[in-house]
């Protein structure tokens, strides 16, 4: 049965050495068990890429009934060389918020995937999709129907609202200032239509982080970054502060907490055993809470800040999101609905005014923040800026002369 063996992949085999898990070994193991020839073809083409230092996939159009997005089509550009890799499409699946899985649910996905596709998975893509890599067009609909019956739905691709991402959230983190998982689920369910059918100028991403540590990388990588914060005072456990100073020492507290506070909001008290936090100076950066996890906790009046406009390099260079709403309560369904209403108006304005392939942050920069605020009905707020403008050329409302 020599014809069933893997072909030599000399350019990849070095990646089987070394202590870190090897994806090449994983693929080979998969092929040797299943004999799925697509896996062999993909390894052969990848080996060729390593030899020639070029990629050989091109896009096309593959989809499922009623959807305009969610499958990334990949056809080999050299099918004559690698006929087994002729089609290698990816199905993007929206995972549970926070990437929490039960093994029962995950095993169901794995079994369905092995039945219809290659068995290769990306866990997870950079936007947060569970990516089933390697299905042929003929199997796509059946694969999706089987998954959809179990509550799984396609993610975004192209000019759509993209699959969301969220941090571990209140499921297992004391820093979470709102329910990132619930908000992720509700907001992305609301935008399901915009996720599945491209009808926007370009992509729109939501990411949900429970605090300023921003474990979902929301400010950097999403158009709508939802960051947990609080309005009142950091909760201080005095006994734990004293214990911290006793065990770690005054020098550690001084060098790693007090002087690391970006706004000098923390002072050591005369007794040498306690600290005072000037909460009106605190910018909720999270540093002191991260260092003194037992002694300090976020305040009780919690909610979210919304930062808008983050995106990657294309095409004006990297942009980080900036504050649009410094604080919103996010406790119940009504709060989530109010958030969705606000986002709806932002997406509407952007969809109507953006240039092709323009992210909302680029649109805001092009038309000016004033126009965007007027359009979506938000008041200007000093939290939106690091400093007021320093150039004198602007036009405030005026009365016509004569």
């Amino acid at each position: 049965m020599a014809e069933n063996k893997l072909n030599p992949t000399p350019n990849l085999d070095t990646l089987e050495e070394g202590p870190w898990p090897s994806f090449i070994s994983g693929f080979k193991e998969l092929y040797n068990r299943t004999g799925n020839t697509m896996v062999r073809g993909v390894l052969d083409q990848l080996n060729y890429s390593y030899e020639t230092r070029m990629g050989y996939w091109k896009g096309g159009v593959v989809g499922v009934h009623g959807y305009g997005a969610g499958i990334i089509s990949r056809y080999s550009m050299v099918p004559e060389l690698f006929p087994e890799a002729k089609e290698f499409h990816t199905m993007r699946i929206q995972p549970p918020p926070g990437l929490h899985y039960s093994t029962k649910a995950l095993r169901e996905v794995l079994d369905i995937w092995e039945k219809h596709g290659s068995g290769i998975i990306s866990m997870h893509g950079q936007t947060g999709n569970l990516q089933l890599q390697g299905v042929v067009q003929a199997n796509v609909q059946e694969l999706f129907d089987d998954l959809n019956k179990l509550g799984w739905d396609l993610g975004g691709a192209g000019a759509t609202v993209r699959t969301g991402a969220s941090c571990v959230g209140p499921a297992r983190c004391e820093m979470a200032c709102y329910d990132t998982l619930k908000m992720h689920e509700k907001v992305l369910k609301y935008f399901a239509d915009l996720t599945h059918r491209p009808q926007l100028p370009y992509k729109a991403k939501f990411k949900f982080s429970g605090c300023g540590n921003d474990c979902a990388n929301a400010i950097q990588r999403s158009d709508y970054a939802v960051i947990g914060t609080w309005k009142d005072e950091i909760q201080v456990d005095e006994a734990e502060v004293a214990k911290f100073i006793e065990t770690r020492g005054v020098a550690y507290l001084t060098n790693n907490v007090i002087t690391r506070c970006p706004t000098n909001a923390i002072v050591m008290n005369e007794d040498g055993k306690s600290i005072t936090i000037n909460n009106s100076d605190c910018v909720r950066c999270m540093h002191c809470l991260n260092v003194m996890t037992k002694a300090l906790s976020p305040g009780k009046e919690r909610g979210i800040a919304l930062l808008v406009g983050g995106k990657g390099h294309l095409k004006v260079g990297n942009m980080l999101g900036s504050v649009m709403v410094p604080f919103m309560k996010m406790e119940d369904e009504d709060d989530i609905e109010a958030f969705i209403d606000m986002i709806d108006s932002m997406i509407d304005y952007w969809a109507e005014n953006a240039l092709d392939h323009e992210r909302v942050g680029e649109t805001i920069e092009r038309v000016g923040m004033q126009q965007f605020l007027d359009a979506v009905g938000l008041e200007a707020n000093p939290d939106m800026v690091i400093q007021p403008r320093d150039n004198p050329y602007f036009k405030a409302p005026y009365e016509k002369v004569g």
Binding site: R53, M54, Q94, Y101, G151, R172, K315, N318
Partner: protein, 357 residues
Amino acid sequence: MAKREYQTVESGPHTYWDMLHPTIQKNYGQWKYHDRPRPGVLHHVSHTGDEVWTVKAGTHRQVTVDIARRLCDIADTYCDGFLRWTVRNNVEMTTDKEANVEPLIKALEAAGHPVGGTGNSITSMAHTQGWLHCDIPATDASGVVKSIMDLVYDEFKREEMPNRVKLSTSCCEINCGGQADIAIVVQHTRPPRINHDILASTCEMPSTVARCPVAAIRPTKVNGKPSLMVVEEKCICCGACFGACPAMEINHPEYSKLAIWIGGKNANTRSRPTNMKLVAHGLPNNTARWPEVAEKVLTIIKAYKEGGRDWERVGEWAERIGWKKFFEVTGLPFDKYMIDNYRHARNSFNQSAHIRF
């Protein structure tokens, strides 16, 4: 076409509540604090008095049904059938029984997944699809990640860096790998070659022209047929046009290079989130182990480990010692291309007499 019987349910993200361990459900939103008993293990204590231990382990991101099933087996044995992934492709197994922690660590490591990635470690590298699956990459990503993570394996398992170190790699200048403390990103060094034979039949010309950030693409005629041209003096080699039009052939085995960027930071801790900055470029795309890139990454890591103060991220360290010193201690050459000449470039100039000697 046969009549479709099944009616799709457009449900969006899968529900999460059933994906949570019962002890996690019970203590949802009630966590009081956490600590780290050892590298790779988090210990969370609830206001209810309940405790959970989470063991974090590295994965290869490009997994298979076999690998995922093995992780499910481990989660079934020690974690009552629940597990989660992090945004940096680590797997997390949470148990409410302290006695499960050691055997859980052993089981994960026996399955080839190093336990670590917590606290001040070098955690798993965020990365893109590369030659394995993307349609526009100039390099592979999984291979670069494997090559680098093999070299920093011990630092993944320890917590000995000044602060956490996040790495990323991206196979084109779109940089899906994202901002990181140390990032490896493709850098195209020549304008695209134009494949006029396929351009008119493959590409929508107006949208390709519009895609260029510096208006370097113009309509033209080649051999009497409509096509596009690139004004090479204006082109910034970003590769944006290639995404719109595969005839704009930006990738090249020799002239698509790699660059190293440092100081990207997503957290708001201490300083605001920051973009990463260019510190090395023009490095060869040398499959399958990228030794020239790896050597520079290791040099930066070593200098940061030696010079960074507690809690300083790579970018914060470079800011404190000054970029001049950064180039001195790493031995990386600074050149004129590291001075920004794009939008808002002046914001990065030293508009002061603050000079270090």
